[in-house]
Subunit: 417 residues, 2 copies
């Protein structure tokens, strides 16, 4: 029987080994009083195990309030804990309550973060992973392997009518974009019922496909209650759509799984709320664990922020996220990392240099809409930047060679390479 193994970053005012044992006890068969039936066999079979503990150098803190016995700097370590599949079988909510449950409440810790985990091999058969993933998503739009998929987000996020949204989609289609998405705040507003928006937008997408042979992917945000989400999924399908968007933190794992298992649309997963789970270095979850949870549900595309973004996140963290989406796990298809936030062609060079991948969905807003040559110029500029990056050019050389990209360097500013 194989085991689930998880890695945590811990910080404790006490002995890290004792704290790790407390974690293993709290998250499995641990109990502080002797119970009839609590046999040695039961413990052997169901108790979580501390597999390893590696002290970290940067002792400090306490990072969080409420740890007992704080007296000077706290000690930090990386620990691996394992559980038998016997504890939860193939029940993911039970697995989540095990991996990221009461352990954050333990007063032995002044800091605790789930860094990554490895699923038992038995999961490969039970959970098929993404139906489309990176490669399948690109293929649906006819995007060549050697370049990323290029997309944008409908803005203003909230408030456009279906007609105004469709007009914007027409403009973007004429600019030869690959992908368009709703904002994470936008499902259905008082002036944009979901079905009307899908109908108006897909009319434009279908017309464009008939003319060009290429069907743009539009991620309609169908997040809602279960029955609503299924109805909206049906509506997108009937209108000839290829993609639906869900806010994974807002809908939760079982609902995401329900939607993904239908398998007819690529599922674009937005991580709205992710900051509260990860922004503190010693609380919550790191992205390698997070992406695995949602790949297990079957999402195809997952947001990872972008290099030189407008948010708080440093580039190293974004690079780690992109890599973890593309890493093989249980034979599942890699996820398509969705790169966004303050992106224009300028970040293509570092992004490619640091990830070596064109299996990305590269989202730009202003970088497309505010290009001096219009949205068409904006899309061309991003394609040029990626072509140049893959050819091994740097930003300056690319700007010399490609006119639209040169315009975007002049407009959007400083090189990041």
């Amino acid at each position: 029987m194989s085991r689930l193994t998880a890695t945590y970053l811990i910080e404790t005012p006490g002995d890290p080994h004792a704290a790790a044992e407390a974690l293993a006890g709290e998250q499995s068969s641990g109990t502080f009083i002797k119970i009839p039936g609590e046999t040695a066999e039961l413990k052997e079979r169901f108790a979580a195990r501390v597999e390893s503990l590696e002290p970290l150098e940067d002792d400090a803190g306490p990072s969080l309030p409420g740890a007992k016995g704080v007296d000077g700097p706290c000690r930090r370590a990386r620990v691996r804990i394992s559980w038998s599949l016997d504890n939860f079988g193939f029940n993911i909510p039970a697995l989540l309550a095990t991996l990221q449950g009461n352990l954050y409440e333990l007063s032995q810790f002044s800091g605790l973060k789930l860094d990554d985990f490895d699923l038992p091999v038995e999961y490969a058969e039970r959970f098929p992973g993404p139906a489309f993933g990176a490669e399948g998503s690109k293929r649906l739009v006819g995007v060549e392997p050697e370049r990323p998929m290029i997309g944008t987000i409908i803005k203003p996020s909230v408030g456009l009518t279906p007609g105004a949204t469709a007009a914007l989609v027409r403009e973007l289609a004429e600019a030869d974009i690959d992908f368009i998405k709703d904002d994470e705040l936008m499902v259905a507003t008082a002036n944009s019922p979901f079905e009307d928006r899908v109908d108006r937008v897909m009319e434009v997408v279908r017309e464009h496909a008939e003319r060009t042979g290429r069907k743009i992917m539009v991620a309609f945000n169908l997040s809602g209650e279960l029955d609503e989400m299924h109805r909206r999924y049906d509506h997108i399908l009937a209108a000839g759509g290829t993609c639906a968007m869900i806010c994974v933190n807002a809908i939760g794992w079982p609902a995401a799984r329900e939607i993904c298992r239908r398998g007819e649309l690529a599922i674009h997963a937005h991580r709205a709320g992710w900051g509260m789970l990860t922004r503190h270095p010693l609380l919550g979850v790191n992205f390698p664990a997070f992406q695995k949870i949602w790949r297990l549900a079957g999402v195809d595309q997952l947001h990872v922020n972008g290099l030189a973004n407008k948010f708080w996140e440093p580039d190293d963290s974004v690079v780690r996220s992109i890599r973890s989406c593309l890493e093989p796990t249980l034979g599942w298809k890699p996820l398509l990392p969705v790169v966004s936030s303050g992106q224009w062609g300028g970040q293509a060079f570092d992004t490619y240099a640091r990830t070596g991948s064109t299996d990305l969905l590269y989202l730009a807003g202003g970088g497309i809409m505010a290009h001096p040559a219009g949205p068409g110029g904006g899309v061309r500029a991003i394609r040029q930047a990626w072509e140049a990056a893959v050819r091994g050019l740097d930003l300056e050389a690319a700007a010399r060679e490609y006119p639209e990209f040169r315009q975007s360097v002049e407009t959007f500013g400083k090189p990041t390479a």
Copy 2:
């Protein structure tokens, strides 16, 4: 049209007013480039508003990494932001992506926590709230208004067979307990299939009810995928059960709503994972907001930790949580706060003094099982403690008057009053 109003605690290296405006922009119709169709009417209707800003005294930090422009202590404030119902209607995942979405990523903030929110009055008609709530849960077991419901958790958490679980339930039933629950880690293990456990346990509960006229409430943890949860719900109902348990953070809002809206079983909500959402004082969510999200889904009972608990949380925070469960909201039934973690009768005095309520589910483990007079003595001791607290006695006076409670003071230690 009424508005959704949320209160955030913020910390910023810059101007708090500017940071609050950035939050409002990011979470509604904000955009950094002018778009055709972005009219003044659209902004007036859909833009979030900063309603008020109250500077806080305790400037310090930065609490979180990644804020731009940190140079000395950061400024803290409490801000109120409002949105029109037009933005999301009655779609709760969209509301969650609005209240607790990308805002945590903003580099304007070095700290940000959702403290509380007020739902538009229109929600009262659309969402019925808890079907049973505090009073209905107590009534199902026949617990008198003037005392809390008294319960315990099956331990060891994971690993007991259905037969061993049923034997423990029999012992607890004979001790005249009101409520028994599965651990949050326990749904179905290799040696305890869910249905077998329900059958064995409910046989004991039904026999006991026939003999005594009182049906103990057992919260079976049915967390899982949607179809599994529905099947398990049916199974509990068919066996004569009155309650099901869900881990709300692990299953998410739409799945919780699906289960709650069936309305035939009281829903016991475990908050496993809550620590990662709240333990940092300036990141995540505070309990008053959290309980409202789940009351909106329709849960009846929600964990709040306990006074003098074994976890990290200070008593003031626990008291605030209990009060917020009992607070009237939109005419909905109050939630039954589930008090647990290191509880025995000793905390009854402070808990009653600080909340004035007996509408609680008071869970004890060792306080019941390890009582010198056995589990029956343990349950009696807790009832005695609450009777004494309601009568206005203090712990010492109660220990003089009630023999089983005196034994538990001798066994479980220091007064907390």
